[in-house]
Subunit: 258 residues, 2 copies
DNA sequence: CCCAATTTGTTCGTATGTATC
DNA sequence: AGATACATACGAACAAATTGG
Protein backbone atom coordinates (compact mmCIF):
# COMPACT_ATOMS: atom_id res chain seq x y z
CA UNK A 1 0.00 0.00 0.00
CA UNK A 2 2.57 2.54 -1.08
CA UNK A 3 0.70 5.55 -2.48
CA UNK A 4 -1.86 4.93 0.21
CA UNK A 5 -3.93 7.88 -0.77
CA UNK A 6 -6.10 7.23 -3.72
CA UNK A 7 -7.16 10.78 -4.26
CA UNK A 8 -10.66 9.87 -5.24
CA UNK A 9 -13.25 9.64 -2.54
CA UNK A 10 -12.49 9.45 1.14
CA UNK A 11 -13.12 5.96 2.39
CA UNK A 12 -14.96 7.21 5.39
CA UNK A 13 -17.83 9.47 4.51
CA UNK A 14 -17.97 10.81 8.03
CA UNK A 15 -15.28 13.03 9.40
CA UNK A 16 -13.32 12.93 6.20
CA UNK A 17 -11.47 16.00 7.34
CA UNK A 18 -8.23 16.09 9.20
CA UNK A 19 -5.03 14.21 8.94
CA UNK A 20 -4.86 10.46 9.12
CA UNK A 21 -4.14 10.28 12.83
CA UNK A 22 -7.27 12.32 13.44
CA UNK A 23 -9.34 9.99 11.30
CA UNK A 24 -7.83 6.93 12.93
CA UNK A 25 -8.66 8.35 16.34
CA UNK A 26 -12.27 8.82 15.27
CA UNK A 27 -12.43 5.29 13.91
CA UNK A 28 -11.06 3.87 17.11
CA UNK A 29 -13.70 5.78 19.04
CA UNK A 30 -16.39 4.34 16.83
CA UNK A 31 -14.90 0.90 17.17
CA UNK A 32 -14.92 1.20 20.95
CA UNK A 33 -18.53 2.35 20.99
CA UNK A 34 -19.62 -0.35 18.54
CA UNK A 35 -18.01 -3.02 20.65
CA UNK A 36 -19.54 -1.56 23.75
CA UNK A 37 -16.17 -1.35 25.46
CA UNK A 38 -16.19 0.22 28.87
CA UNK A 39 -13.69 1.88 31.13
CA UNK A 40 -10.81 -0.47 31.83
CA UNK A 41 -11.21 -2.53 28.69
CA UNK A 42 -8.14 -3.03 26.62
CA UNK A 43 -7.68 -1.71 23.12
CA UNK A 44 -5.80 -3.69 20.49
CA UNK A 45 -2.04 -3.52 20.81
CA UNK A 46 0.02 -1.22 18.66
CA UNK A 47 1.01 -3.95 16.18
CA UNK A 48 -2.62 -5.04 15.95
CA UNK A 49 -3.77 -1.51 15.23
CA UNK A 50 -1.05 -1.15 12.62
CA UNK A 51 -2.33 -4.32 11.03
CA UNK A 52 -6.00 -3.40 11.33
CA UNK A 53 -5.67 0.10 9.89
CA UNK A 54 -2.82 -0.65 7.54
CA UNK A 55 -0.87 2.31 8.77
CA UNK A 56 2.54 2.96 10.14
CA UNK A 57 3.41 2.97 13.79
CA UNK A 58 3.90 6.72 13.91
CA UNK A 59 0.44 7.39 12.58
CA UNK A 60 -1.17 5.03 15.04
CA UNK A 61 0.78 6.54 17.88
CA UNK A 62 -0.35 10.05 16.97
CA UNK A 63 -3.93 8.81 16.99
CA UNK A 64 -3.45 7.33 20.44
CA UNK A 65 -2.05 10.63 21.68
CA UNK A 66 -5.16 12.38 20.46
CA UNK A 67 -7.39 10.01 22.41
CA UNK A 68 -5.14 10.31 25.41
CA UNK A 69 -5.29 14.10 25.33
CA UNK A 70 -9.06 13.91 25.37
CA UNK A 71 -8.83 11.75 28.46
CA UNK A 72 -10.41 8.75 26.77
CA UNK A 73 -7.55 6.27 27.08
CA UNK A 74 -4.58 5.54 29.28
CA UNK A 75 -1.52 3.70 28.16
CA UNK A 76 0.88 1.49 30.05
CA UNK A 77 4.13 -0.11 28.98
CA UNK A 78 5.32 -3.56 29.83
CA UNK A 79 3.73 -7.01 29.70
CA UNK A 80 -0.02 -6.83 30.11
CA UNK A 81 0.31 -3.21 29.09
CA UNK A 82 -1.28 -1.44 26.20
CA UNK A 83 -4.01 1.15 25.85
CA UNK A 84 -7.15 1.03 27.94
CA UNK A 85 -10.45 2.82 27.73
CA UNK A 86 -10.52 5.39 30.47
CA UNK A 87 -13.41 7.30 31.93
CA UNK A 88 -12.77 10.99 31.37
CA UNK A 89 -12.03 12.40 34.79
CA UNK A 90 -13.64 15.50 36.12
CA UNK A 91 -10.25 17.11 36.45
CA UNK A 92 -9.46 16.51 32.82
CA UNK A 93 -12.86 17.76 31.68
CA UNK A 94 -12.39 20.85 33.81
CA UNK A 95 -9.02 21.55 32.28
CA UNK A 96 -10.23 21.05 28.74
CA UNK A 97 -13.22 23.31 29.27
CA UNK A 98 -10.94 25.79 30.99
CA UNK A 99 -8.99 26.04 27.76
CA UNK A 100 -12.13 27.28 26.05
CA UNK A 101 -12.70 30.05 28.58
CA UNK A 102 -9.07 31.01 28.55
CA UNK A 103 -9.84 32.90 25.38
CA UNK A 104 -13.01 34.46 26.75
CA UNK A 105 -13.14 37.26 29.20
CA UNK A 106 -15.30 36.07 32.02
CA UNK A 107 -16.17 38.53 34.74
CA UNK A 108 -17.12 37.89 38.32
CA UNK A 109 -20.62 38.97 37.41
CA UNK A 110 -20.78 36.36 34.65
CA UNK A 111 -19.91 33.53 36.97
CA UNK A 112 -22.25 34.73 39.68
CA UNK A 113 -25.13 35.05 37.29
CA UNK A 114 -25.02 31.26 37.16
CA UNK A 115 -23.93 30.59 40.72
CA UNK A 116 -26.83 32.58 42.11
CA UNK A 117 -29.33 30.20 40.59
CA UNK A 118 -27.41 26.92 40.52
CA UNK A 119 -26.00 26.84 44.03
CA UNK A 120 -29.41 27.29 45.70
CA UNK A 121 -30.77 24.57 43.43
CA UNK A 122 -27.99 22.26 44.57
CA UNK A 123 -28.51 23.08 48.22
CA UNK A 124 -32.21 22.39 48.00
CA UNK A 125 -31.70 19.05 46.31
CA UNK A 126 -29.18 17.89 48.90
CA UNK A 127 -31.18 18.73 52.02
CA UNK A 128 -31.73 15.66 54.14
CA UNK A 129 -29.64 13.47 51.88
CA UNK A 130 -26.17 13.97 53.24
CA UNK A 131 -24.60 11.38 55.53
CA UNK A 132 -23.18 12.58 58.82
CA UNK A 133 -19.63 12.07 57.61
CA UNK A 134 -20.13 14.60 54.84
CA UNK A 135 -21.90 17.04 57.13
CA UNK A 136 -18.98 16.78 59.52
CA UNK A 137 -16.55 17.35 56.70
CA UNK A 138 -18.43 20.50 55.72
CA UNK A 139 -18.34 21.80 59.28
CA UNK A 140 -14.70 20.96 59.45
CA UNK A 141 -14.10 23.00 56.35
CA UNK A 142 -15.87 26.02 57.81
CA UNK A 143 -13.45 25.95 60.69
CA UNK A 144 -10.68 26.89 58.27
CA UNK A 145 -12.05 30.41 58.08
CA UNK A 146 -13.40 30.88 61.51
CA UNK A 147 -11.51 34.03 62.26
CA UNK A 148 -11.34 37.13 60.08
CA UNK A 149 -8.30 37.33 57.86
CA UNK A 150 -5.69 39.84 58.76
CA UNK A 151 -3.58 39.86 55.67
CA UNK A 152 -4.40 39.78 51.98
CA UNK A 153 -2.75 36.38 51.68
CA UNK A 154 -4.82 35.01 54.53
CA UNK A 155 -7.94 36.37 52.98
CA UNK A 156 -7.13 34.71 49.70
CA UNK A 157 -6.55 31.40 51.39
CA UNK A 158 -9.86 31.67 53.20
CA UNK A 159 -11.52 32.45 49.94
CA UNK A 160 -10.13 29.32 48.35
CA UNK A 161 -11.11 27.26 51.36
CA UNK A 162 -14.64 28.55 51.25
CA UNK A 163 -14.79 27.58 47.58
CA UNK A 164 -13.75 24.10 48.58
CA UNK A 165 -16.91 24.01 50.65
CA UNK A 166 -18.91 24.39 47.46
CA UNK A 167 -16.88 21.88 45.51
CA UNK A 168 -17.40 19.41 48.33
CA UNK A 169 -21.11 20.02 48.21
CA UNK A 170 -21.19 19.71 44.43
CA UNK A 171 -19.62 16.28 44.56
CA UNK A 172 -22.53 15.02 46.64
CA UNK A 173 -25.08 15.70 43.96
CA UNK A 174 -26.52 12.80 42.05
CA UNK A 175 -26.93 15.14 39.12
CA UNK A 176 -23.57 14.90 37.39
CA UNK A 177 -24.29 17.87 35.19
CA UNK A 178 -25.08 20.13 38.12
CA UNK A 179 -22.10 18.76 40.01
CA UNK A 180 -19.71 19.46 37.18
CA UNK A 181 -20.92 22.98 36.52
CA UNK A 182 -20.72 24.04 40.13
CA UNK A 183 -17.34 22.44 40.58
CA UNK A 184 -16.13 24.14 37.44
CA UNK A 185 -17.22 27.56 38.60
CA UNK A 186 -15.60 27.06 41.98
CA UNK A 187 -12.39 26.15 40.21
CA UNK A 188 -12.58 29.22 38.00
CA UNK A 189 -13.03 31.44 41.04
CA UNK A 190 -10.15 29.71 42.80
CA UNK A 191 -7.92 30.53 39.88
CA UNK A 192 -8.68 34.19 40.24
CA UNK A 193 -6.20 36.49 41.66
CA UNK A 194 -7.90 39.06 43.74
CA UNK A 195 -6.53 42.53 43.70
CA UNK A 196 -7.89 44.69 46.44
CA UNK A 197 -7.53 48.36 46.06
CA UNK A 198 -5.37 49.66 48.83
CA UNK A 199 -7.97 51.96 50.24
CA UNK A 200 -10.65 49.27 50.24
CA UNK A 201 -10.67 47.75 53.67
CA UNK A 202 -12.01 44.28 54.34
CA UNK A 203 -15.71 44.41 54.92
CA UNK A 204 -15.98 42.52 58.17
CA UNK A 205 -19.72 42.64 58.26
CA UNK A 206 -20.09 40.99 54.86
CA UNK A 207 -17.43 38.47 55.75
CA UNK A 208 -19.10 37.40 58.98
CA UNK A 209 -22.48 37.17 57.32
CA UNK A 210 -21.01 34.95 54.62
CA UNK A 211 -19.42 32.70 57.20
CA UNK A 212 -22.64 32.59 59.13
CA UNK A 213 -24.56 31.49 56.07
CA UNK A 214 -22.43 28.42 55.56
CA UNK A 215 -22.98 27.31 59.15
CA UNK A 216 -26.72 27.83 58.89
CA UNK A 217 -26.69 26.02 55.57
CA UNK A 218 -25.17 22.91 57.08
CA UNK A 219 -27.83 22.99 59.75
CA UNK A 220 -30.60 23.22 57.18
CA UNK A 221 -29.05 20.39 55.18
CA UNK A 222 -28.94 18.23 58.28
CA UNK A 223 -32.53 19.06 59.16
CA UNK A 224 -33.64 18.22 55.65
CA UNK A 225 -35.19 21.65 55.27
CA UNK A 226 -34.95 21.99 51.54
CA UNK A 227 -36.47 25.43 51.19
CA UNK A 228 -34.42 26.88 54.02
CA UNK A 229 -31.27 25.50 52.39
CA UNK A 230 -32.25 27.13 49.13
CA UNK A 231 -32.96 30.45 50.78
CA UNK A 232 -29.79 30.46 52.81
CA UNK A 233 -27.63 29.57 49.84
CA UNK A 234 -29.26 32.32 47.78
CA UNK A 235 -28.42 34.86 50.45
CA UNK A 236 -24.94 33.44 50.71
CA UNK A 237 -24.43 33.99 47.00
CA UNK A 238 -25.59 37.59 47.32
CA UNK A 239 -23.05 38.18 50.03
CA UNK A 240 -20.25 36.40 48.22
CA UNK A 241 -20.81 38.34 45.05
CA UNK A 242 -20.98 41.60 46.95
CA UNK A 243 -17.72 40.76 48.68
CA UNK A 244 -15.92 40.03 45.45
CA UNK A 245 -17.32 42.98 43.60
CA UNK A 246 -16.46 45.27 46.48
CA UNK A 247 -12.93 44.05 46.39
CA UNK A 248 -12.96 44.87 42.73
CA UNK A 249 -11.67 41.43 42.08
CA UNK A 250 -10.45 40.87 38.62
CA UNK A 251 -9.95 37.74 36.70
CA UNK A 252 -6.33 37.33 36.08
CA UNK A 253 -5.00 34.49 34.07
CA UNK A 254 -3.03 32.85 36.78
CA UNK A 255 -0.08 31.99 34.58
CA UNK A 256 0.72 35.50 33.52
CA UNK A 257 3.50 36.73 35.75
CA UNK A 258 3.22 40.21 37.20
CA UNK B 1 -2.89 29.43 25.83
CA UNK B 2 -3.71 27.77 29.09
CA UNK B 3 -1.13 27.13 31.67
CA UNK B 4 0.37 23.72 31.96
CA UNK B 5 -0.71 23.65 35.53
CA UNK B 6 -0.18 20.44 37.35
CA UNK B 7 -3.64 20.93 38.73
CA UNK B 8 -5.02 20.50 35.27
CA UNK B 9 -3.81 16.98 35.02
CA UNK B 10 -3.64 15.61 38.52
CA UNK B 11 -3.50 12.06 37.26
CA UNK B 12 0.04 12.70 36.17
CA UNK B 13 0.91 15.00 38.99
CA UNK B 14 3.31 12.47 40.34
CA UNK B 15 6.54 11.79 38.51
CA UNK B 16 6.13 15.24 36.99
CA UNK B 17 4.47 14.25 33.79
CA UNK B 18 3.84 11.38 31.49
CA UNK B 19 5.49 10.53 28.24
CA UNK B 20 7.79 12.89 26.47
CA UNK B 21 5.23 14.14 23.98
CA UNK B 22 2.99 15.12 26.88
CA UNK B 23 5.80 17.04 28.52
CA UNK B 24 6.76 18.68 25.28
CA UNK B 25 3.14 19.74 24.75
CA UNK B 26 3.13 21.31 28.21
CA UNK B 27 6.38 23.09 27.53
CA UNK B 28 5.09 24.45 24.27
CA UNK B 29 2.03 25.76 26.08
CA UNK B 30 4.24 27.51 28.59
CA UNK B 31 6.42 28.86 25.85
CA UNK B 32 3.41 30.26 24.03
CA UNK B 33 2.07 31.86 27.18
CA UNK B 34 5.45 33.30 28.12
CA UNK B 35 5.72 34.84 24.69
CA UNK B 36 2.19 36.17 24.94
CA UNK B 37 1.27 34.60 21.65
CA UNK B 38 -2.34 34.99 20.64
CA UNK B 39 -4.75 33.27 18.33
CA UNK B 40 -3.35 33.27 14.82
CA UNK B 41 0.28 33.51 15.84
CA UNK B 42 2.64 30.99 14.39
CA UNK B 43 4.54 28.40 16.35
CA UNK B 44 8.06 27.36 15.43
CA UNK B 45 8.31 24.97 12.52
CA UNK B 46 8.81 21.27 13.05
CA UNK B 47 12.56 21.40 12.40
CA UNK B 48 12.88 24.33 14.79
CA UNK B 49 11.03 22.46 17.51
CA UNK B 50 13.16 19.39 16.92
CA UNK B 51 16.20 21.58 17.35
CA UNK B 52 14.85 23.49 20.34
CA UNK B 53 13.77 20.42 22.30
CA UNK B 54 16.42 18.08 21.01
CA UNK B 55 13.91 15.42 20.20
CA UNK B 56 12.92 13.31 17.26
CA UNK B 57 10.36 14.38 14.77
CA UNK B 58 7.86 11.76 15.81
CA UNK B 59 7.96 12.95 19.42
CA UNK B 60 7.38 16.53 18.39
CA UNK B 61 4.55 15.54 16.14
CA UNK B 62 2.84 13.61 18.91
CA UNK B 63 3.07 16.70 21.08
CA UNK B 64 1.45 18.77 18.36
CA UNK B 65 -1.36 16.26 18.05
CA UNK B 66 -2.03 16.62 21.75
CA UNK B 67 -2.36 20.37 21.43
CA UNK B 68 -4.45 19.98 18.32
CA UNK B 69 -6.81 17.55 20.04
CA UNK B 70 -7.37 20.13 22.75
CA UNK B 71 -8.30 22.65 20.10
CA UNK B 72 -5.37 24.90 20.92
CA UNK B 73 -3.55 24.82 17.59
CA UNK B 74 -4.27 24.32 13.93
CA UNK B 75 -1.75 23.06 11.44
CA UNK B 76 -1.42 23.68 7.73
CA UNK B 77 0.94 22.26 5.14
CA UNK B 78 2.72 24.10 2.40
CA UNK B 79 4.65 27.36 2.21
CA UNK B 80 3.55 29.78 4.89
CA UNK B 81 2.14 26.77 6.66
CA UNK B 82 2.97 25.44 10.08
CA UNK B 83 1.18 25.35 13.40
CA UNK B 84 -0.80 28.30 14.67
CA UNK B 85 -2.31 29.18 17.99
CA UNK B 86 -6.04 28.71 17.72
CA UNK B 87 -8.86 29.89 19.92
CA UNK B 88 -10.70 26.85 21.20
CA UNK B 89 -14.02 26.80 19.39
CA UNK B 90 -17.33 26.30 21.10
CA UNK B 91 -17.90 23.19 19.02
CA UNK B 92 -14.65 21.65 20.16
CA UNK B 93 -15.27 22.52 23.79
CA UNK B 94 -18.72 21.01 23.50
CA UNK B 95 -17.36 17.80 22.07
CA UNK B 96 -14.64 17.48 24.70
CA UNK B 97 -17.07 18.08 27.53
CA UNK B 98 -19.48 15.68 25.86
CA UNK B 99 -16.87 12.96 26.22
CA UNK B 100 -16.96 13.47 29.97
CA UNK B 101 -20.69 12.96 30.15
CA UNK B 102 -20.52 9.98 27.84
CA UNK B 103 -19.50 8.00 30.90
CA UNK B 104 -22.14 9.52 33.13
CA UNK B 105 -25.77 8.65 33.02
CA UNK B 106 -27.54 11.91 32.59
CA UNK B 107 -31.29 11.84 32.69
CA UNK B 108 -33.76 14.26 31.18
CA UNK B 109 -34.51 15.37 34.71
CA UNK B 110 -30.84 16.16 35.33
CA UNK B 111 -30.61 18.43 32.34
CA UNK B 112 -33.89 20.12 33.07
CA UNK B 113 -32.92 20.79 36.64
CA UNK B 114 -30.41 23.23 35.16
CA UNK B 115 -32.42 24.38 32.19
CA UNK B 116 -35.31 25.38 34.38
CA UNK B 117 -33.23 27.97 36.15
CA UNK B 118 -30.71 28.96 33.48
CA UNK B 119 -32.99 29.49 30.51
CA UNK B 120 -35.27 31.96 32.35
CA UNK B 121 -32.15 33.75 33.54
CA UNK B 122 -30.96 34.04 29.96
CA UNK B 123 -34.33 35.24 28.71
CA UNK B 124 -34.54 37.92 31.35
CA UNK B 125 -31.06 39.20 30.60
CA UNK B 126 -31.73 39.44 26.87
CA UNK B 127 -35.02 41.30 27.03
CA UNK B 128 -34.84 44.60 25.15
CA UNK B 129 -31.32 43.89 23.96
CA UNK B 130 -31.88 41.92 20.79
CA UNK B 131 -31.66 43.62 17.41
CA UNK B 132 -34.58 43.20 15.02
CA UNK B 133 -32.58 40.87 12.82
CA UNK B 134 -32.20 38.37 15.62
CA UNK B 135 -35.83 38.70 16.67
CA UNK B 136 -36.83 38.02 13.08
CA UNK B 137 -34.55 35.01 13.00
CA UNK B 138 -36.18 33.65 16.12
CA UNK B 139 -39.64 34.11 14.67
CA UNK B 140 -38.46 32.49 11.49
CA UNK B 141 -37.29 29.51 13.48
CA UNK B 142 -40.64 29.12 15.18
CA UNK B 143 -42.24 28.80 11.76
CA UNK B 144 -40.40 25.51 11.36
CA UNK B 145 -42.76 23.88 13.80
CA UNK B 146 -45.92 25.77 13.15
CA UNK B 147 -48.04 22.73 12.47
CA UNK B 148 -48.32 19.65 14.67
CA UNK B 149 -46.10 16.78 13.66
CA UNK B 150 -47.80 13.80 12.12
CA UNK B 151 -45.01 11.27 12.20
CA UNK B 152 -42.41 10.40 14.79
CA UNK B 153 -39.69 11.58 12.42
CA UNK B 154 -41.41 14.90 11.95
CA UNK B 155 -41.78 15.30 15.65
CA UNK B 156 -38.11 14.63 16.20
CA UNK B 157 -37.18 17.20 13.59
CA UNK B 158 -39.42 19.77 15.23
CA UNK B 159 -37.83 18.98 18.53
CA UNK B 160 -34.38 19.65 17.16
CA UNK B 161 -35.57 22.84 15.51
CA UNK B 162 -37.04 24.09 18.74
CA UNK B 163 -33.73 23.39 20.44
CA UNK B 164 -32.07 25.50 17.78
CA UNK B 165 -34.23 28.34 19.05
CA UNK B 166 -32.52 28.09 22.39
CA UNK B 167 -29.05 27.74 20.94
CA UNK B 168 -29.73 30.85 18.88
CA UNK B 169 -30.81 32.71 21.98
CA UNK B 170 -27.80 31.49 23.93
CA UNK B 171 -25.41 32.88 21.36
CA UNK B 172 -26.82 36.36 21.96
CA UNK B 173 -25.75 36.45 25.57
CA UNK B 174 -22.79 38.54 26.54
CA UNK B 175 -22.13 36.06 29.31
CA UNK B 176 -19.97 33.45 27.61
CA UNK B 177 -20.36 31.03 30.49
CA UNK B 178 -24.13 31.16 30.38
CA UNK B 179 -24.07 30.96 26.60
CA UNK B 180 -21.90 27.88 26.61
CA UNK B 181 -23.85 26.01 29.23
CA UNK B 182 -27.19 26.57 27.56
CA UNK B 183 -25.80 25.72 24.16
CA UNK B 184 -24.26 22.58 25.60
CA UNK B 185 -27.51 21.43 27.11
CA UNK B 186 -29.37 22.06 23.89
CA UNK B 187 -26.80 19.97 22.08
CA UNK B 188 -27.13 17.16 24.60
CA UNK B 189 -30.87 17.13 24.14
CA UNK B 190 -30.47 17.18 20.36
CA UNK B 191 -28.30 14.11 20.58
CA UNK B 192 -31.00 12.21 22.37
CA UNK B 193 -32.70 9.43 20.69
CA UNK B 194 -36.30 9.64 21.58
CA UNK B 195 -38.04 6.39 22.05
CA UNK B 196 -41.74 6.86 22.27
CA UNK B 197 -43.73 4.00 23.52
CA UNK B 198 -45.97 2.88 20.73
CA UNK B 199 -49.12 3.45 22.66
CA UNK B 200 -48.10 6.92 23.77
CA UNK B 201 -49.70 9.37 21.39
CA UNK B 202 -48.37 12.86 20.84
CA UNK B 203 -49.72 15.22 23.41
CA UNK B 204 -51.12 17.97 21.22
CA UNK B 205 -52.07 20.18 24.06
CA UNK B 206 -48.58 20.26 25.53
CA UNK B 207 -47.12 20.76 22.09
CA UNK B 208 -49.28 23.76 21.26
CA UNK B 209 -48.63 25.32 24.64
CA UNK B 210 -44.91 24.96 24.09
CA UNK B 211 -45.11 26.52 20.69
CA UNK B 212 -47.19 29.34 22.08
CA UNK B 213 -44.64 30.08 24.75
CA UNK B 214 -41.87 30.66 22.24
CA UNK B 215 -44.01 33.15 20.32
CA UNK B 216 -44.93 35.02 23.48
CA UNK B 217 -41.31 34.95 24.54
CA UNK B 218 -40.16 36.72 21.40
CA UNK B 219 -42.80 39.36 22.00
CA UNK B 220 -41.60 39.91 25.55
CA UNK B 221 -38.00 40.09 24.38
CA UNK B 222 -38.96 42.72 21.81
CA UNK B 223 -40.91 44.72 24.37
CA UNK B 224 -37.98 44.62 26.75
CA UNK B 225 -40.17 43.11 29.43
CA UNK B 226 -37.53 41.25 31.37
CA UNK B 227 -39.74 39.72 34.02
CA UNK B 228 -42.33 38.57 31.51
CA UNK B 229 -39.58 36.92 29.49
CA UNK B 230 -38.35 35.14 32.58
CA UNK B 231 -41.82 33.97 33.51
CA UNK B 232 -42.68 32.76 30.03
CA UNK B 233 -39.42 30.87 29.66
CA UNK B 234 -39.94 29.21 33.03
CA UNK B 235 -43.35 27.99 31.94
CA UNK B 236 -41.89 26.90 28.63
CA UNK B 237 -39.36 24.78 30.46
CA UNK B 238 -42.10 23.14 32.49
CA UNK B 239 -43.92 22.22 29.33
CA UNK B 240 -40.83 21.01 27.53
CA UNK B 241 -39.78 18.80 30.39
CA UNK B 242 -43.25 17.34 30.68
CA UNK B 243 -43.25 16.58 26.98
CA UNK B 244 -39.93 14.80 27.09
CA UNK B 245 -40.67 12.85 30.22
CA UNK B 246 -43.94 11.74 28.73
CA UNK B 247 -42.11 10.46 25.70
CA UNK B 248 -39.78 8.57 27.95
CA UNK B 249 -36.86 9.92 26.06
CA UNK B 250 -33.53 8.38 26.80
CA UNK B 251 -30.08 9.67 26.35
CA UNK B 252 -28.26 7.95 23.59
CA UNK B 253 -24.73 7.61 24.66
CA UNK B 254 -22.32 8.36 21.96
CA UNK B 255 -19.14 10.18 21.45
CA UNK B 256 -19.64 13.49 19.82
CA UNK B 257 -17.44 13.62 16.74
CA UNK B 258 -14.98 16.43 16.51
C1' DC C 1 -0.55 24.32 -16.74
C1' DC C 2 3.46 23.06 -14.95
C1' DC C 3 7.32 23.51 -11.98
C1' DA C 4 9.80 24.53 -7.90
C1' DA C 5 10.06 25.63 -3.13
C1' DT C 6 8.36 25.08 1.52
C1' DT C 7 6.26 22.87 5.15
C1' DT C 8 3.71 19.19 7.20
C1' DG C 9 2.45 14.13 6.67
C1' DT C 10 3.74 9.16 6.64
C1' DT C 11 6.62 5.15 6.52
C1' DC C 12 10.09 1.83 7.96
C1' DG C 13 13.92 -0.13 10.49
C1' DT C 14 16.12 -0.15 14.68
C1' DA C 15 17.05 0.54 19.35
C1' DT C 16 15.68 1.60 24.12
C1' DG C 17 12.78 1.73 28.26
C1' DT C 18 9.63 -0.55 31.39
C1' DA C 19 6.84 -3.63 33.79
C1' DT C 20 5.60 -8.61 34.58
C1' DC C 21 6.69 -13.30 35.47
C1' DA D 1 18.27 -12.43 37.45
C1' DG D 2 16.76 -13.18 33.07
C1' DA D 3 13.23 -13.65 29.50
C1' DT D 4 9.19 -11.73 27.63
C1' DA D 5 5.80 -8.45 26.03
C1' DC D 6 4.70 -4.27 25.53
C1' DA D 7 5.12 0.88 24.62
C1' DT D 8 8.59 4.64 23.65
C1' DA D 9 11.85 7.05 20.96
C1' DC D 10 15.08 7.97 17.18
C1' DG D 11 16.56 8.96 12.27
C1' DA D 12 16.50 8.81 7.52
C1' DA D 13 13.89 8.75 3.49
C1' DC D 14 9.91 9.72 0.88
C1' DA D 15 4.94 11.46 0.04
C1' DA D 16 1.51 14.97 -0.05
C1' DA D 17 -0.36 19.63 0.17
C1' DT D 18 -0.02 24.42 -0.69
C1' DT D 19 1.80 28.60 -2.59
C1' DG D 20 3.89 31.38 -6.05
C1' DG D 21 6.40 31.98 -10.33
Amino acid sequence: MPPATTRSIPENAVASGGSRPVRVAEQIKEWVVARGLRAGDRLPSEPELIERFGMAKGTIREAMRILEAQGLIKTRTGPGGGSFVHEVSMERARALLGNYFYFKNLTIADIYQLRRVLEPELAASLAGRLPDTVLAELEDNIAHYDAPAETAAEEREQHINSLRFHALLARQSENDLLAFMIDFMAQMLSDLTVYRKLYAKPNLELWSRGRDYQARLVAALRDGDSEAARRIMASHMDTAQALMQEQEAEIRRNFIPG
